[in-house]
């Protein structure tokens, strides 16, 4: 099915090019992925619906859905799919596309969390979990962090939340920054 076939590659073709998305045309809509998904109840569209929508060329609906952002990467759907489709990889590609095209995803903080994650990788090279969570709550809604305080305290008590961050050598840090900068430039050009 080709919805927007005016010189532009259709959404289905684009998905078929993604590693793991080749099989999207083979989907038999059995719903094993949706049944296996531990987070399906919180998604606006289940993985099966999302694949059906992608095949129908409903690009905007797929990319603005919050379902891909709720994927936990447990890979149950990938393991169980009888047709060898990799819904987990598809979900991540949808996220990637949504970020690249600046499509806002409905009512979920996950993009902001991912953004704060990449901020830390860029500036430190690794992600100290405590500072990462603090930065994330500052970016979204600081008040929500109050709800997490008891959990943070119990984690601290058992030594599972360290305050100090591991730093790389300055040369290594600089090198990483250069490579990430270049990767971003290449990704922008490929748009």
């Amino acid at each position: 099915m080709n919805v927007n076939n005016k010189g532009k590659t259709s959404f289905v073709q684009e998905i078929s090019k993604i590693p793991g998305g080749e099989g999207v045309k083979l989907c038999i809509q059995c719903g094993t992925c949706s049944a296996s998904c531990p987070n399906a109840s919180k998604m606006d569209f289940t993985p099966r619906q999302l694949i059906a929508m992608a095949r129908a060329g409903m690009e905007n609906e797929v990319l603005s859905s919050r379902a891909p952002w709720l994927c936990l990467s447990c890979y149950l759907c990938t393991v169980r799919c009888p047709r060898g489709i990799k819904p987990t990889d598809l979900m991540h590609s949808f996220e990637c596309m949504a970020v690249r095209r600046n499509v806002s995803s409905g009512r979920t903080y996950t993009p902001k969390m991912y953004r704060s994650f990449t901020d830390f990788v860029y500036s430190l090279g690794n992600v100290p979990e405590m500072s990462f969570m603090i930065w994330y709550y500052l970016l979204t809604n600081p008040l929500r962090s109050l709800k997490m305080l008891p959990q943070a305290f119990s984690l601290l008590k058992r030594g599972r939340l360290s305050i100090k961050a591991k730093r790389m050598k300055p040369e290594a840090e600089l090198q990483l920054k250069k490579i990430l900068d270049k990767a971003e430039i290449i990704a922008l050009r490929g748009r």
Binding site: S93, V99, T118, M168, A183, E184
Partner: protein, 70 residues
């Protein structure tokens, strides 16, 4: 005694999965091996990174592999 290069990652080295680090270290002791954490490892480019910028996340993991092979 065998030596292995060890990549703990963000979570196991100073995060919520410290327990995995402890059990890996103690298992290796029983197996008469030693895990040596290599210098200057960075993020492995995990799920949150893959979702935002796929290429950069592959770069991250490859930088790690490169510094581990040294």
């Amino acid at each position: 005694m065998k030596y292995y290069t060890y990549f703990p990652g963000c979570s196991a080295s100073h995060g919520g999965s410290k327990v995995y680090d402890i059990s890996a270290q103690s298992t290796s002791r029983i197996l008469d091996t030693q895990l040596i954490e290599f210098e200057d490892w960075n993020c492995c480019g995990s799920t949150p990174y893959t979702a935002v910028d796929e290429l950069a996340s592959y770069c991250c993991s490859n930088i790690c592999l490169n510094s581990a092979s040294r």
